[in-house]
C-alpha cells in the first residue's frame, strides 16, 4: 500500500517536472545574452531557433522578426544566416539602453516572443587624470582623480598602491564617490609609494599615470592648537603667541603662517614667512599699537613646503599693554548764558579714540588762566566742564590721563566778550562720497590753529542738537566722523580757530544720502479761470524732503485726456496752468524730485468755469445798456416825434363835445371855453366845422338817443384833461370800450339795423383842402380808427383832391387788399357801385358776404369805407353843393390842426343830433 502511494507520488512529481520543463523550454535564444556595445559601433545579434519549435510552429529563420523597445526593426537590418538563425545588425549604435526581442510568426501569422535581451551602450573608460593624494594627519590617505567623460556604463575605479617590496590592498571607489578613494592602510612616512588608478567597465580597462611619492610630502597637518596671546608690561607694542604643534611635528619639520589683525579690522596682516620657517611653539609679534586688541590665527605645513597647509587654528585674542595718550583731546567751548560782568562757559572735549588714548583714560586735567592771574585747575572725569568766567580773555588747557601718563595739552583761547570774530573760511562745500559726508573749504588768509566742525540734523520736529569735531589747522578737507543718517539734512558749520580766538563761522547744508521725498507736495488752486488755473503749494517740510528738492513736476489731465506734465523750478510755490478748456474737470497732482527720485502728492481736482470772470457782466451790461439806450432813444424819438406818432397811431380824436354839432346841438352847451383843446381850437384855427346832413333810418326813439348823448357828454366831462379823449385807452383800439362795453351789443344791433350816414364837411385835413366832399358812413361794429391809422387813406383822399378821379381809389384797394388782386377788385368795385345804386338791404348782404370772406375781411371795412365815401359822393354830389361849400370852410379850419384825425365817425347822426356808439 505504501509502495503504491509512493509510486503515485513519484509519477505525479515526474509528470509535473516534465510539464514544467516543457513550459520552460524556449523556442530559441539571442546571442550574445547581455550585449554591451560601444557607443557608435556596429552590433549584430543572432536569434537561433529551436528545431522542435520550428516543427511545432512551422517556422524557420525567415519567420523571425526583431523588435527594439517594442518597435519593429526594419527588415533591411535582418540577415538569414541559415534555416534556424537570423541576425539583426545595428550600425552606429547610439541608443543607451535597448530591449531587443526576437519574435516568430507562428504558422506564418501569429507573432510570438522567442527571446529578449537588454542591450547596453556606452563608452569605455577614459584614462583618469590629475591623480593626487593627500594624507590628512591622523587619517588615512585619500586619492582623487578626474574620471574623464561619462561612460553610461557601470565603471569601477580602483586605486592601486605599491612599494618596491610590497603591494597594498586595492582601494575601490564607492559608486557615490567615483572620483576619490580613501585607502585602508595607514601611510608610512619616508617610504616612497607608487599609486595609480584603474578604471574598468564592460568595454575596457584603463589605468592612470603612476605617481610615486613619499606620503610625508602629501601631508596636511592638523592645525596648531591651544593658541594663546600674552602681552608685556615692558613693551606696549608686542604680543607673544604660544601654541601646541600637531603630533606630525615628530615626523617632519614645520613652518608656520601667522595672521593677525585688530579687533574690528576686516583684513589680516601676515607675519613674514621667513620669520616662521622653522618648527617652534611660540612667536612674538612686534610693532603693534598700544592698548589695542588683536586677533591671531596660525597654520602650519611641512617645512620644505611640500604637502598642504593645515587648516587655520582657532582665533586667539590679546590686548597690548597701555601707553601714554598719543594725542591731545579735541577741545571746544560754548557760552550758554551771558550776564553783565560774567558768563557761563561750557568747555567740551572729545574722548580720545582708542588708537590715541593708548589705554583707559582715567580723567582729564583742565586749567583756566586769566590774563596775569593764577591758573585754576580742574580734574574732570566727564567730557565737559561748565565754569563761570569774567568777560576777560582766558586760556584753557586740557590733557587726558591714563595709567601710564598724560597726553599733550590742548590749548584753547576763550576771547573776551568784546572780541569780534573775523576771517571766516571761504568756499565751504559739503558732499557725500564713499558713504561719508565730506566737508571742504578754502582756508582764510590768517594762520589757523585748528578748525571746529559742527553739524546737526535740521528738522521741524526736533531742535538742532549739534555734534562737533576738531581738525588741525592744515586740514582743508575732512569727513564728519559722527553717526550720520541718510535722508537727513545736516547743517554744517566750520569755524576757524586762531590763536586769539575763534573766527567767523560758515555754514552749509548737505545730505549723506538722498532719497525720494517721503511725501509729495499738496497742490491746490489759488485761482481758477475759464482757460487757466493758478496752482499753489507749500514747500515740503524738511523732514519729508529726504534730499534737496531739485524740481517739481505738475501732472494734469482731464478725465478722458492725456496727462500733461510741466516741470517747475523748486524755488516756486505757484504755477499757472494755461490753455485749459472751459467747463472741464481737471485732475492735477504734483511730484517733488530730489536727486534720487520723486514722490507724488495727492491728486487734486478742479473744474474750470464756463465763463470767465466778468464775461457775463461784459455781455449782460452792454446788452442792458444797449437796450436801455435803445429804449431811451426810442423814448426820445417818440418824444420828439410824439406828434407824428400820435398822428399815426393815436390820432387826435375830435371831441364831439367840441364839434360844431355839439355846439350846435341844443342839448349841448357851448364848451369852447371849457376844454383845453377847445382853447387850441379857439385859437382861431378851427373856426368852423359844419355837419351838413345826417340821414338815418334809426327806428330808435329819439329821446333815448338824446339820453345817451347826455350820458356821453357827462362821461366826456369826467375825462376832461385827457388829450386822448374817448379813445385814450389805446391808439390801436376802438374807442367804444371806453364808452361802455355793455352798450356794445346794443349799438351793434343798432348799427346792423340802421345804416347811418354822416356827411362831414370839413375844410381839409392838416392844411389839405379836400376837393371833394367826403361822406362817411359810420358802422358801430368797425372802429373807424382802422382807417385813421392809415395815412395813405388820407393821401388817397388828397390824391382825389388832385383830380385823379376814381383811379386813386382803385390803387388804394390794391395796396390794402393784396390777395384778391384782379377780379375781386373789380367785383368789389362793381359791387360797390351796385350797392351805391341799390338799396340798403343789398348793402347789408354785401357786408355779410365780406365778413364771411376771411381773405378780404380785413380790407372789407376799408373797401366799405372808401366805397361808402365814393358812393356817397357820387350819390350826393349834386345835391350837397351848399353844404360842400361849408365843408370847404370847415376843411380849411381843420387843416390848421395837424394833429387832428381826418375823420372819426363813432357817432350816429339822427334827426336833431348824433349818438356816440
Amino acid at each position: 500500500m505504501m509502495l503504491q502511494i509512493w509510486l503515485v507520488q513519484a509519477l505525479v512529481v515526474f509528470l509535473t517536472t516534465q510539464c514544467i520543463g516543457e513550459l520552460v523550454d524556449t523556442c530559441g535564444v539571442i546571442s550574445p545574452e547581455s550585449p554591451v556595445i560601444q557607443h557608435g559601433s556596429n552590433f549584430t545579434a543572432f536569434c537561433v531557433l529551436n528545431e522542435k519549435c520550428m516543427s511545432i510552429y512551422e517556422v524557420n529563420a525567415s519567420h523571425i522578426i526583431w523588435k527594439a523597445n517594442r518597435v519593429l526593426i526594419p527588415k533591411e537590418q535582418y540577415t538569414i544566416i541559415n534555416t534556424t538563425t537570423s541576425s539583426v545588425t545595428f550600425t552606429n549604435t547610439s541608443l543607451t539602453n535597448v530591449q531587443l526581442i526576437c519574435n516568430i510568426l507562428a504558422f506564418g501569422q501569429i507573432e510570438m516572443n522567442i527571446y529578449g535581451v537588454r542591450m547596453r551602450t556606452g563608452f569605455p573608460p577614459e584614462k583618469p587624470k590629475n591623480l593626487t593624494c593627500i594624507v590628512n594627519e591622523g587619517k588615512r590617505m585619500m586619492c582623487q582623480w578626474d574620471p574623464g567623460r561619462e561612460t553610461h556604463l557601470e565603471t569601477n575605479f580602483t586605486v592601486k598602491s605599491e612599494w618596491a617590496t610590497e603591494k597594498f590592498e586595492d582601494c575601490k571607489a564607492k559608486p557615490e564617490t567615483p572620483t576619490s578613494c580613501i585607502v585602508e592602510y595607514s601611510p608610512v612616512y619616508f617610504v616612497n609609494i607608487e599609486v595609480w588608478v584603474e578604471a574598468q567597465n564592460a568595454l575596457g580597462k584603463v589605468a592612470s599615470d603612476h605617481i610615486n611619492f613619499d606620503p610625508v610630502d602629501k601631508v596636511k597637518p592638523n592645525p596648531p592648537r591651544n593658541l594663546s596671546v600674552s602681552n608685556s608690561e615692558e613693551l606696549s607694542s608686542i604680543l607673544k603667541l604660544t601654541w601646541i604643534n600637531p603630533s606630525i611635528m615628530n615626523v617632519m619639520r614645520l613652518k608656520y603662517d601667522i595672521h593677525y589683525k585688530t579687533k574690528d579690522a576686516s583684513t589680516w596682516s601676515q607675519i613674514p614667512p621667513e620669520d616662521t620657517a622653522t618648527t617652534r611653539t611660540s612667536f612674538t609679534v612686534q610693532d603693534l599699537k598700544p592698548f589695542t586688541e588683536y586677533v591671531f590665527r596660525i597654520r602650519c605645513m611641512k617645512g620644505d613646503g611640500k604637502g598642504f597647509w593645515s587648516d587655520w587654528s582657532e582665533d586667539a585674542r590679546g590686548v597690548t599693554y597701555e601707553a601714554r595718550p598719543s594725542k591731545a583731546p579735541s577741545f571746544w567751548y560754548k557760552i550758554p548764558s551771558h550776564t553783565q560782568g560774567s558768563r557761563s562757559v561750557q568747555l567740551i572735549w572729545k574722548t580720545l579714540p582708542p588708537s590715541e588714548a593708548n589705554g583707559k583714560i582715567l580723567d582729564y586735567e583742565v586749567t583756566l588762566t586769566r590774563w596775569k592771574s593764577r591758573s585754576q585747575n580742574y580734574t574732570v572725569n566727564d567730557t565737559n566742564l561748565t565754569v563761570n568766567l569774567t568777560n576777560d580773555r582766558y586760556i584753557a588747557t586740557l590733557a587726558a590721563r591714563n595709567l601710564v601718563g598724560k597726553s599733550d595739552a590742548s590749548v584753547l583761547t576763550i576771547p573776551a566778550c568784546d572780541f569780534q570774530a573775523t576771517h571766516p573760511i571761504t568756499d565751504l562745500k559739503a558732499y557725500p562720497k564713499d558713504n561719508m559726508l565730506w566737508v571742504e573749504w578754502t582756508p582764510p588768509g590768517k594762520a589757523v590753529r585748528k578748525y571746529i566742525l559742527e553739524w546737526c540734523v535740521l528738522s521741524d520736529k526736533s531742535p538742532c542738537i549739534p555734534d562737533w569735531q576738531q581738525e588741525s589747522g592744515i586740514v582743508r578737507r575732512t569727513y564728519l566722523r559722527g553717526e550720520l543718517l541718510g535722508s537727513k539734512c545736516y547743517l554744517i558749520t566750520v569755524t576757524p580757530v586762531y590763536s586769539d580766538g575763534p573766527g567767523s563761522p560758515e555754514s552749509t547744508k548737505a545730505y549723506l544720502k538722498q532719497a525720494p521725498p517721503s511725501k509729495g507736495p499738496t497742490v491746490r488752486t489759488k485761482k481758477v479761470g475759464k482757460n487757466e488755473a493758478v496752482l499753489q503749494w507749500d514747500q515740503l517740510p524738511v523732514d519729508v524732503q529726504n534730499g534737496f528738492i531739485r524740481n517739481y513736476t505738475i501732472f494734469y489731465r482731464t478725465i478722458i485726456g492725456n496727462e500733461t506734465a510741466v516741470n517747475v523750478d523748486s524755488s516756486h510755490t505757484e504755477y499757472t496752468l494755461t490753455s485749459l478748456n472751459s467747463d472741464t474737470l481737471y485732475m492735477v497732482r504734483m511730484t517733488a524730485y530730489t536727486d534720487e527720485g520723486g514722490k507724488d502728492g495727492p491728486e487734486f481736482t478742479f473744474t474750470t468755469p464756463k465763463f470767465a470772470q466778468g464775461e457775463i457782466e461784459a455781455i449782460v451790461v452792454p446788452v442792458c445798456l444797449a437796450f436801455l439806450l435803445t429804449t431811451l432813444l426810442g423814448v426820445l424819438f417818440c418824444f420828439n416825434k410824439r406828434d407824428l406818432i400820435k398822428k399815426h397811431i393815436w390820432p387826435n380824436v375830435p371831441d364831439p363835445s367840441k364839434s360844431h354839432i355839439a355846439q350846435w346841438s341844443p342839448h349841448t352847451p357851448p364848451r369852447h371855453n371849457f376844454n383845453s383843446k377847445d382853447q387850441i381850437y379857439s385859437d382861431g384855427n378851427f373856426t368852423d366845422v359844419s355837419v351838413v346832413e345826417i340821414e338815418a333810418n334809426d327806428k330808435k326813439p329819439f329821446p333815448e338817443d338824446l339820453k345817451s348823448l347826455d350820458l356821453f357828454k357827462k362821461e366826456k366831462i369826467s375825462t376832461e384833461g385827457h388829450s386822448s379823449g374817448i379813445g385814450g385807452s389805446s391808439c390801436m383800439s376802438s374807442s367804444r370800450p371806453s364808452i361802455s362795453s355793455g352798450d356794445e351789443n346794443e349799438s351793434a344791433q343798432n348799427t346792423s339795423s340802421t345804416v347811418q350816414y354822416s356827411t362831414v364837411v370839413h375844410s381839409g385835413y392838416r392844411h389839405q383842402v379836400p376837393s371833394v366832399q367826403v361822406f362817411s358812413r359810420s358802422e358801430s361794429t368797425q372802429p373807424l380808427l382802422d382807417s385813421e391809422e392809415r395815412p395813405e387813406d388820407l393821401q388817397l383822399v388828397d390824391n382825389v383832391d388832385s383830380g385823379d378821379g376814381i383811379l386813386p381809389q382803385q390803387q388804394y384797394f390794391k395796396q390794402n387788399c393784396h390777395q384778391p388782386k384782379t377780379s375781386p377788385d373789380i367785383s368789389h368795385f362793381e359791387r360797390s357801385k351796385q350797392v351805391s345804386s341799390s338799396n340798403e338791404e343789398d348793402f347789408l348782404r354785401l357786408k355779410q358776404q365780406q365778413i364771411s370772406d376771411p381773405i378780404s375781411q380785413s380790407c372789407g371795412a376799408e373797401q366799405m369805407k372808401m366805397f361808402q365815401g365814393v358812393s356817397t359822393t357820387d350819390v350826393f354830389g349834386s345835391e350837397t353843393e351848399a353844404p360842400a361849400e361849408r365843408l370847404e370852410t370847415a376843411g380849411m379850419e381843420a387843416a390848421v390842426d395837424e394833429g387832428m384825425p381826418k375823420s372819426y365817425l363813432p357817432q350816429t347822426v339822427r334827426q336833431g343830433g348824433y349818438v356816440p356808439q
Binding site: E166, K167, V188, F190, V191, V216
Partner: protein, 247 residues
C-alpha cells in the same frame, strides 16, 4: 604532409623561446619594476632612512605605549625595561660594516624584530590591539623597503656586498614561558629595538652624500661584543620585492 609539420615547428620555436625568455627574465623584470618604485635619489633615500630611523628610535612610538598597556609603568619595572635586550648589534658593530653589509644587517635584524613583535603581540597582547604595534610593523617594513632600494642603488654603483653580522636572529626568539617574564622580555625587546634604531640612525648620519663612496665606517670591528664576528661567504640576500622578503 611535411610542409605543414615544418611550418608548425617553425612557429613553435619562437613561441617556446619567448616563453623561456619570459620565464627566465621574469625575476629581472620584476626587479626592474620594483626598482622603478624606489626613489632614484640616493640623497632622498638616505634622508628617508635617517628619518625613519629617527622616528623609530622614539620610545613613545612603541615602548611607552607597551609599558602602559602591560602595566609596567612603575619605576622598578621601568628599570627592568631599560635593561634593553642585548641581542641587537651595537652601533659600533654596525658602523664597522660596509654599507651593503650594514643594510643587510639592519634588514635582517628588523626582520627578526617583526617576528618577535608578532609573537609578542600574540602572547602578551592577545586580543588587545595596540595601534603602535601596527605602525611599528609598517615602519619596519618601510625601512626594509628603503634598504632594498638603497641596496639596489648601491649595487648598481658596483659596491661589493659584504656578509652581514651573524647571530642576530637567535636572541630575538621568544624564550620566556612565564607571562610576566614574557612581558618584561617584550619590554626589553622593544627597548633594544629603539636603541638599535638609534644606532642605525647614527650610522646613517655618518653616511656621505654620495652613493659611490665605498668605505667602512669603522675599523674597530672587534669592538662589537654582543655579536659573533663572522664573515659569511654568501652575498647579501636581496630583499624580494612585493612582500617576499625573507623572514
Amino acid at each position: 604532409m611535411r610542409a605543414p609539420s615544418m611550418r608548425a615547428q617553425r612557429t613553435r620555436r619562437p613561441l617556446l623561446s619567448l616563453a623561456l625568455g619570459l620565464l627566465l627574465l621574469s625575476p629581472a623584470a620584476e626587479a626592474a619594476v620594483a626598482m622603478r618604485r624606489c626613489s632614484s635619489s640616493y640623497t632622498q633615500l638616505l634622508g628617508q632612512l635617517r628619518s625613519l630611523a629617527h622616528l623609530m628610535k622614539d620610545t613613545s612610538c612603541l615602548l611607552e605605549p607597551y609599558i602602559r598597556l602591560q602595566g609596567l609603568d612603575t619605576p622598578v619595572l621601568r628599570g627592568f625595561c631599560t635593561e634593553c635586550s642585548g641581542a641587537f648589534p651595537s652601533e659600533d658593530a654596525l658602523a664597522a660594516l660596509s654599507r651593503l653589509a650594514f643594510l643587510q644587517t639592519v634588514s635582517a635584524t628588523l626582520d627578526g624584530v617583526l617576528q618577535r613583535l608578532a609573537v609578542l603581540q600574540q602572547k602578551c597582547l592577545k586580543a588587545k590591539d595596540l595601534p603602535e604595534f601596527h605602525v611599528a610593523r609598517k615602519n619596519i617594513q618601510g625601512v626594509r623597503n628603503n634598504i632594498y632600494c638603497m641596496s639596489e642603488l648601491l649595487t648598481n654603483g658596483s659596491e661589493t656586498p659584504e656578509a652581514p653580522l651573524p647571530g642576530t636572529e637567535a636572541p630575538l626568539r621568544p624564550s620566556a614561558q612565564d607571562t610576566f617574564q614574557a612581558k618584561v622580555e617584550g619590554c626589553q625587546l622593544l627597548c633594544g629595538y629603539h636603541r638599535f634604531m638609534g644606532s642605525v640612525e647614527q650610522v646613517f648620519e655618518k653616511w656621505g652624500d654620495s652613493p659611490s663612496r665605498n668605505r667602512r665606517h669603522s675599523p674597530r670591528r672587534a669592538l662589537h661584543k654582543g655579536a659573533r664576528r663572522a664573515r659569511p661567504s654568501r652575498r647579501v640576500k636581496k630583499p624580494v620585492p612585493r612582500g617576499q622578503l625573507s623572514r
